[in-house]
Each structure stands twice: as C-alpha cells, then as structure tokens.
Symmetry: C2
Subunit: 432 residues, 2 copies
Amino acid sequence: MASIRSWLSIRTGSPFSIANIPFGIISTKASATPRPAVAIGDWALDLAEFSANNGFSGLSTIQPHQAVFSEATLNAFAALGRPVHAAVRKYLQSVFLLDTPFPDVLKNNKSLQNSALLALKDVQMHVPFDIGDYTDFYAGLNHAYNVGVLFRGPSNALQPNYKHLPVGYHGRASSIVVSGTPIRRPRGQILENPAAEKKVPIYSACRKLDIELELAAFVCKSNPLGAPVPIDEAEDAIFGVVLMNDWSARDIQAWEYVPLGPFGAKNFGTSISPWVVLADALMPFMAKGLENENELLPYLKQRSEKNMYDINLKVELATSAGNTTTLSETSSRNLLFSFPQMLAHHSVTGCNMQVGDLLGSGTISGLEAHQRGSMLEQNENGKTAIKLSGGEERKFLEDGDTVVISGACGSDPNALVGFGECSGTILPALKS
Amino acid sequence: MASIRSWLSIRTGSPFSIANIPFGIISTKASATPRPAVAIGDWALDLAEFSANNGFSGLSTIQPHQAVFSEATLNAFAALGRPVHAAVRKYLQSVFLLDTPFPDVLKNNKSLQNSALLALKDVQMHVPFDIGDYTDFYAGLNHAYNVGVLFRGPSNALQPNYKHLPVGYHGRASSIVVSGTPIRRPRGQILENPAAEKKVPIYSACRKLDIELELAAFVCKSNPLGAPVPIDEAEDAIFGVVLMNDWSARDIQAWEYVPLGPFGAKNFGTSISPWVVLADALMPFMAKGLENENELLPYLKQRSEKNMYDINLKVELATSAGNTTTLSETSSRNLLFSFPQMLAHHSVTGCNMQVGDLLGSGTISGLEAHQRGSMLEQNENGKTAIKLSGGEERKFLEDGDTVVISGACGSDPNALVGFGECSGTILPALKS
C-alpha cells in the first residue's frame, strides 16, 4: 500500500517514511565512490547525483554548500549545523510530497528519478562518518543494575557515582563497522576458574560472546579543548542517532577489565545501523526517561523533562538452523541520561568534541526478562539457558548466529521514523 | 663545540645528533602549511623543501613516494614501512656526514641550506600524526604497584591479571596536544569526603592535578579487523617513540573511574613531544625490562629478552616563582611489557590497528622515591608534600606550574639519541 502522502510508492510499515529522511553513505556497482544519500521507502536518493542535477534548486540555504554531498562521509554535511540539517530534511520531504511545490525537481523528472533514486537492495552501505573518537556510556540503569547484581549482589549493584554522572569510557573507533559486516569470534585471555587460588589465564576462543543493545549518537559540533559545552547548547551538537550492537566477549572482559575498564573484550567489532536518523526527525518522540532521585549538578540539568527518545527496540536472533527468536523488546526511554547530558559531561573537564564523534548510550534493558538488552542479563551470566524457537537454546552466541537489532518511533505505519536494521553474523574464531 | 662527524655545526649535548634524525611536523611564519621535517642539532630540515629541490636524488627508494613529504602529517610517510624509514634516515645521516658521499645535495648547496635548514627556535611544531585511536597502557610495574598500595594496600596492590597481560584502556585521541600547549585545569565532579556514608559529589576545579611520565609509540602498519598481529611481526608496526605527559585529575578520577576506568580525569589534555624518534634509531639502546616471574602466553612472547628501550628520563617542575626542581629521574626500562607486546595484545581479539594510532606505555617509575613518574606516588596521594627548590613545596600542580619531561639515549654527548622536551604550563580553571 502506498503512503498517502508521497508521489513515490512507499510501502506501509517502511521505517523510512516521508516523516523520517535519514542520512547515510552509499555506493553502487555502477559507482563505487561512497557518497551521501537519504532513505525513503525502499529507495535511496543519491544526494551527489541529486545535487549535481539541480535537485536543490528550491533550497537556497544549501546551495553554497553542495560540495558536502560529494564527500565520502557525512562529516562535512553534519558540520553545517542543525538548522541546515533541518532545512535540508524539510526540503527533501517537500520534494517527495504528493503535492510537492517543486514538481520539476524530481516528481516530473524521470531522468533524475532514474539516475538518483536507487533501490535500497542494490546499494552498499558504509560507516556514515569518519569517526574521530568513540565513547560508550553506561546510561542504561536497568542493565547496570542487573549486571551489578550478578557481580556484586543487589546491595552494591550500582556504584555510588552511577546516578550522579553518566558513567562512560573511551571506546575503539577503528573497529566500528556497518550493519551486515560479519563479526569474527575473538580469541584472548580468559580465566577458566575464577575461584582458583592461583589465577592463570589460558588463550582461548571466547566462550561467552554476547550482544549489547544500544543507541548511538553522532556529534555535529566541535568545541575547543578546555571549553566545556554548556548543557543548553549540547542538543545542538547531536546530529542524529543509529542503532548499535556493542558485541562483548564476557569471559575476556571479566579477566581484563580491572582496574582500567573493558578493552579487548569490546574492540573486535561494534556494529551500527547505516542510516542516521536526524535528531530533528526524533523531536516528536521525546519522552521522560527513568527517574533519578538525585539532584543533578547544574551542568547536567536539562530544561525539559522530556529529554529521552521513545524508540521501540527489538533484538532478534536467527540461528544457522533457521530459527528466528525475538530475544528482547524494549524502549530507549530506559536510560538515566540523555545524549545532551552525556555530551555535557564528556566535555565538562574540557575534552574537545569533534564532528563525527560517536556516543554510545550503554546497553538498554527494560525491567522484565524479555526486555533485557544483553544475553548476560537474560541467562544470569551463563547459569540458565535462553529458550529459542524450534527447541534450540543459547547461553551465549554460537558461530553462525545472526543478531538483528531494529527500532522505530511512532504508531502510524505510514509515518514511521525507523532505523532499519543493525545486523551481524558470528564467524568462527581463527585457528589459534 | 661542533660534532666531529657532521659538516653542520651540532652542539655537544644536542638531543638531535646525527645518530638520531627524528621526524616531526613543522610550520613557519613564512609558510604556515604544516609539513614533515627532521631535527638535527639546532635545525629542522624541511623535507617538503628538501624533497622539492632534489634532496633525495641519492636515494632511489623514496623517489616514487616523495609526495609523502608534502603531507601535513607523518601518516603517509609512516605507512611506507620500516625499511623505507630506515633507508631515509640512513640517507639523511649520510647527507650530513662530514665526508658525505652526496656533497652537492646540501653541504655545497648554500641555496638549499638557506631555504630548507630552519632554526628550531623559529619553527612551530604540530602533533605529528593524524591519530585515529589512542590507547594508554599501564605497563609501568612500579607505578601500578605504588598506586595499588595507596588504594588497596600492599597485599592486593597488583590485580591478578597484571603480570599476564599489558593492561590498557582506550584513551581520547582528540585531546592529544603537542608540547608547549598550555593545559587548562579541569573542572568536574569530585567527592570531597570519600569516607562519608552519603556520597554526594560537588562541581569543582580539580584540586589534585598530576602528571604521568610516559613514553608513547606511533603505529606504522595496519591489520584488518579480525586478524591479530603476531608478536614476531609487531615490531614492524612501531614507527617511533615520543615522550608523553598524561595529565591526570586524581580527584575527578577517584570518583568517576569505577567500573569502566578513567574518563574525564584524562581527556582534558595529553601532551607529547613533537619529534618522533624512529624505532630504528633506538635499536642500539635495547635492554632487558623488568622481570616477570610468570610464563607469558605464546602470543606475548618476544624472541629477544632485550625488548625494552633504555631511555634516561627526567621530569622537571618550574614554578611561576621561578624555581625549577627535578621531580623525577628514571629509565624507560621500568616497564613490564614492550610496545610490540602491547600491540600484539591490543590486536589479539581482532582489533584493527591503523597507521597513526598512538600507544602509551603507562606511567614509568623506578623503585626509589625520586624515580617516581607521578606526584600521586611521591606524595602518597596528597599526604605529604614534595619539597621544591627555593623552599617551595607541592602536593599537586598549581596554576602557572610548568612541567618539562625530557629524555635521551646514550652517553656520548656528541651522539645522543634524544627526544627534546614535552612541556606544558597549567592555566587556571575557567570560572564555573
């Protein structure tokens, strides 16, 4: 069924309705050069081609800056700032409207439709930004609590700092990959018997390979070193959001992480969805996040209580035997701190943020078992097995398993603001 | 006194003897474009100018690649690989030899001397690489032990994993600055009374601003995601070494670091010395590092026992009152793991290293009090004061303090392989 609002046939239920207009980087067989595009329905609009053929003739704002659409990443476009992103999105929506005020741009321009509207199934997606630094936060309160209970018991589950600041750590930017990239099961040091008096690790393939359901935000505004970003300006620095799977080797992590945090257990691959949903597209879906009984310090206080995105999130596991199971369904409201709060905290000591930096939310879990965003939480660190369709079960991921995270805002199936998919399949470990 | 070996006057005691030939990125008032150079004596040889004027006419190896000397970073030169770095260094040494086999290149070419040999005092230095990812290790055993004693007592000073793997964490690449850049005292959350039942942080300027004496190595070889670097190949991936001061806000760190490691306490600035001493230049100064009673897993076993650089390191503190005190003198042999071991471990789970990545060693401390590479260790976390010249004393750094790290290999004052300086002056915190 076609959308009621566009001249382009957009199927009902598409994550890329005309209400969305997410940005990504594509290439094709015909042209291997990576370039910006937006997704609409089952199509990608090639912005290099669109721009080169007067597609932006109706939007004077962008005309001096059209070189950004010939770049191989979104960094240059993002650096133009949120008012420009908003104007470009609104203009592209208007181009696709049934009653578009710009019919000659694309609606009545078969030639440009042929060259610039590419079937999504035929385009190759790329990591959309040149990511300078990647930081992963830990703002999923329920996840932090669940993991804390497993490792320290319920009375010490959360550390004293947890509700006062968005706990985070620097991650590895180079190993961020786009959805669909296979993930090699890592090898590393693990401690087979943590209870033994003499702690001697072995070198082994990971036996506790896990997922982490996260959102991640791209930064579109830089600040100089030594000049923190005030909380009231932090929202201007959020370009948009993707889904993220922060693959985790729990056994490697358990041995290595004291006292400086996770390292090799995380840096073998972090998958993100390819289409960046603009912060502007998410504005209608703001909601209150989790309650925090603590008074926050002023540098973290946001004006609006509705500072969290309400995105419906789903994690599915498809086994090589052909069974697909929904592992988790939850909402991104299950966060204690928002991306602007993370950014304000990140820069409070003076850290310089740069356009293209990526901020991960931390694992998002609801309160119930089927809302948990990691297998570790669902199986109580391997004590129980997770039941899958077709009689299969899992403690952690097996070789050949494919994990698919999806997410969307809204209830009108013709106006979804969706993310598409963030997927990855586990390859067996290399021979030692 | 001139060096006996070069036609160029090189003063005795210069860190940049003809035995060294370190690489950096310079700019000048006359030409603001950053470009590669080498340091020799009190001079920088501008490699863009040298290359453009047939300077490399005697070295066929580099001729097809001379575009690397027009780049604004050393990444492209580094990516050519260690055999090329070695050939270029050896050639440049021969160009400066008293009996140079290439007299027409520079020795008898006053015109090129005038345009390409620039007084060091007149050149502006830049961060020498585009640093994709920065990782800081913790391989300074004595430092790790001293800090462990302060926070957990002598019986639990070192974590069980410490001697089995080079503990490390991902750092912030964007806030790495070149020597001479002032460091703004950070503000952030600190817990004034850690012993209190109710732990409520305040927002404050850092009161425990500290230094960390480190080495850091630049990576010159990439590996694909999922393909670890074998230990026998890891040495080929080390381009060269700089001095590093990993400025640390101890009070912010103490509150924030559990459970994911240091974050804002480190990302407000990390200073490095501007001249990268090639790994090849350091080869004559290899020595045994610290003893490790543990049998290492094979992926960390290096063939040679002499796997550590023997660099004499010094930390000086100059106060705004005009007093200069040597805070620490030690050797870089005080490490438990070498850079090749760090790199092998970094990639063991499959992490892809990239040309330009920076690996920090961790704080380097000797056994004695005056050999400790942080103030935290010298003052027992603020319990005692460090005596300075002129009757001053310090627990931690005060505004206006300048810290200068220097280091050099060798004992012949006409053949030093030195690093020059890594310095930084503390600016007062911003008004809240």
